[in-house]
């Protein structure tokens, strides 16, 4: 990694509700005194990082997908656009071409392949991007997908392009739950994935799915076990058979849960975690350095 480039750490989990945002915001706040910290909430279907980082939104931008509009005067009904659309966002019905905006990924294949130049691309808004300075000078941004819009990936892609970290900074990306396209999109370009799980069969099952993605994407990773003490020891047993280190354990605590539910951060209730997260960051930097191609 180029020394000048930003370090990008993605906080992911697989299972929802394991503590991604708790970890991501705590890491950001713990590093803010010593690093130029950028924070990207990529959980665009239910962003909540702002609740803990309190950004003052100063910039706003629409997230759009470019969808085809077909000029039926020019269209010769060759059906090529329907054929090339991998997402079935187009259908040739009778003497017209129907467009299904919510299925369109905005790839442009239909426009590119149209022999009669009958397709014009128009901007279909699917959500909004917002940015501003948050607590402790953190450069915050998030995407908010409009309710009923089904596609998170384009807005995450646009968010990452819009809110690019400065050289030498540390960017923390809070990923959506799950192990699908939106998580892959968040992970693109990451230097490290910090996986937050809980020691339950559900936590383990979904952790394995994310680990599968990371293997394909060749991104180094480590694990935080949150709510340590509940469930069973299958996550520990599984991880001991892999190269993924357990970097931190956060014990199950009703005091922590209560504080977070009240809108406080983990650091508010347990300031000793500031040091822990700073140490965690050092470990992450070491793992990134070890994984650098020589």
């Amino acid at each position: 990694m180029d020394k000048d480039q930003a370090i990008r750490i993605v906080v992911a989990s697989g299972k929802g509700g394991t503590g991604k945002t708790t970890v991501a915001t705590s890491l950001a706040l713990s590093l803010a005194a010593q690093e130029n910290v950028w924070f990207l909430d990529c959980d665009v279907e239910a962003p909540n990082g702002h609740l803990f980082l309190n950004p003052k939104i100063e910039a706003e931008r629409k997230a759009v997908v470019l969808i085809p509009r077909i000029d039926m005067e020019k269209c010769i009904l060759c059906g090529r656009c329907v054929e090339v659309c991998q997402y079935h966002a187009l259908a040739e019905i009778g003497k017209s071409i129907l467009v299904f905006p919510q299925l369109c990924h905005g790839c442009g294949s239909c426009t590119w392949n149209c022999s009669s130049k009958a397709i014009k691309e128009i901007r279909n808004p699917i959500g909004v991007l917002e940015a501003g300075l948050a607590k402790k000078g953190i450069n915050f941004a998030h995407g908010v997908l409009t309710i009923s819009e089904p596609m998170a990936t384009p807005i995450i892609r646009q968010l990452k392009k819009w809110h690019k970290p400065e050289d030498g900074s540390v960017m923390i990306l809070d990923a959506p739950p799950g192990a699908s396209c939106s998580v892959v999109e968040t992970l693109h370009g990451a230097n490290f994935a910090l996986l937050v799980t809980e020691p339950t069969p559900f936590g383990l099952h979904d952790l394995k799915q994310v680990i599968g993605i990371l293997g394909d994407m060749k991104i180094p990773a480590g694990v935080i076990i949150n709510r340590d003490g509940i469930g069973d020891n299958q996550v520990d047993e599984f991880l001991s058979q892999t190269e993924f280190p357990i970097l931190m354990r956060i014990p199950y605590s009703t005091q922590i849960a209560g504080a977070i539910a009240a809108g406080n951060t983990l650091l508010d209730v347990s300031p000793e975690y500031i040091m822990e997260f700073q140490t965690l960051f050092q470990k992450i930097k070491n793992i990134i350095a070890e994984n650098e191609p020589c």
């Binding site: 259908a91 040739e92 019905i93 009778g94 129907l98 299904f100 299925l103």
Partner: protein, 112 residues
Amino acid sequence: MILIISSQQADINSPVDNRFGRAQWFIKIDSDTKKWEALTNPGVNQRGGAGVAAAQIAANNKAEVVISGDFGPNASGALNAAGIRMMTFDQGISTVQDALDHFTQGKLTAFG
């Protein structure tokens, strides 16, 4: 008249498939000649847009009626635009042949 019925297997006596876009097979029937053929559904394993793709198959095959368990918003939008009637399975229907018989007896419910 051409009918398309969603089916779990490639046979007129196989169980119906309650899903339209994700149906394993479509049985295409000509109600005048009683001839039928099984059409594969490429949409069965697609990530998205299976309903539209299935509606396109119905339109390409010049179906006038499609019969299934239910129709999603994209599929029904495309079928409506194509002027293809949608009917849903009633209780007591287990096979594609049953569905066809119920339809010819006028016992099926129109979708929507």
